[in-house]
Symmetry: C2
DNA sequence: CATCCTATCAACACTGTGTCGAGAAGTTCA
DNA sequence: TGAACTTCTCGACACAGTGTTGATAGGATG
């Protein structure tokens, strides 16, 4: 029974609760950000760049967003919502074939993030300097950890998976592996799993860690 | 047969090849950096702070180091050297008892980094904006991946570990898990493994992933 | 004692952030 | 129509931080 994230629907990141033609501008800023992030990292994009890209002056930018970071957070908010939904779906179907089920679940998050890689890479960058970004990420992670913990526990209860480390700890370690591995692959780091291999490898570790017998002496 | 890193011994990060009393100053800058990093993140430490802490003016700082980043890189260089040695030692002894051997190896890197956590946390932060930091980290990771790959392959050759995903891929995934998990624990992130649990959990995943039987249908 | 190298810093030039206050441009309604 | 209000815009400013320049002090060297 997957947990939903505490939706942040209600609190829009930019200003403007009321209607106005400036909605276009707000959108222009967001799309400019997304476009520029495909070219260079967040740290090399200035408010000036975003403003110019959206056809406004720098001070006007601040009418729409309180900071550069807020733009990114808005982008991340949106992506997270999409990614969460598809993962929960996959996790729910997992009952029958473990390997295939887990694979689908990992695939879901891989796809959700892979399709907007510039944005998550930037989010990861932002996380190191921005507390709000850290909290947002922590909330997302917490949701996943909860979901995966429940599934592991139910697999153990079903007698399909053996007892072992606390399910939550296992979930944390495996999800952290995924996070780091996906980041490295998306960023094309030097030791990183090839894009067409990453799912096979990660799923294999998940399945062995969750269902594998206790280690041979 | 553990690989040694391409040592960067020869190219000191600060200036000053020749002797001078200014060695003290250089050391003062480094210790100031280490001290300040225990209080706040790298992004909140300015060159001014480092200079003042070392009792010199900001321009004088630039006589010793080309930038704030260079100071941190020097700190990391040193730490890496220490950490590498102890891990290789542990890995070498692994032949007899797999679980205990891997545990010692992970312990080694955990201790090496744990004792200077402010510095690695800062290094991770720096990595997002500084190419040289990324390369340094990549080199370190590559060394570890190579070492671990060799050990996994030899365990497979010995017939103790079953065949599976390419040893190198497995090594990458597991090391990335460790990296992320250790970071989260050191940084006291919200979903993170407890400090007194992390080794048990990570070792368990390693052992199952490397020695575990193929997953049950 | 002239000269060279180390070491030092005030002053500057530059980049980027965020704010202020003066307005333009549109809407409402009397 | 035209006052009053709200939305939106930007020039000009104040700051914080980085990195550079040029002048200079003070040893060591020959």
């Amino acid at each position: 029974m997957p947990t939903s994230l505490p939706t942040s629907e209600a609190a829009p990141r930019g200003r403007r609760g009321t209607r106005a033609s400036g909605d276009d501008r707000e959108r222009a800023i967001l799309t400019t950000a997304e476009r520029l992030l495909e070219e260079r990292p967040l740290s090399e994009i200035s408010v000036e760049d975003l403003a110019r890209g959206a056809g406004i002056s720098r001070p006007t930018f601040y009418f729409y967003f309180p900071s550069k970071d807020a733009v990114l957070l808005t982008l991340v908010d949106r992506m997270v919502e999409a990614g969460t939904a598809s993962r929960e779906e996959a996790l729910a179907k997992l009952a029958k074939e473990p390997r295939a089920g887990w694979r689908m679940a990992l695939q879901a998050s891989f796809d959700a993030f892979g399709s907007r890689r510039a944005v998550i890479l930037a989010a990861a960058e932002l996380r190191t300097t921005n507390a709000e970004a850290r909290e947002l990420w922590a909330r997302v992670m917490e949701g996943w950890v909860t979901d995966v913990t429940v599934v592991i526990e139910s697999e153990r209860a079903r007698g399909v998976a053996p007892a072992g480390q606390p399910a939550r700890d296992l979930a944390i370690a495996l999800l952290q592996m995924n996070e780091r591995a996906q980041y490295a692959t998306f960023a094309a780091e030097s030791p990183a799993l090839a894009e067409d291999r990453i799912l096979d490898v990660l799923v294999d570790v998940w399945v062995r860690a969750i269902y594998g017998s206790a280690p041979a002496a």
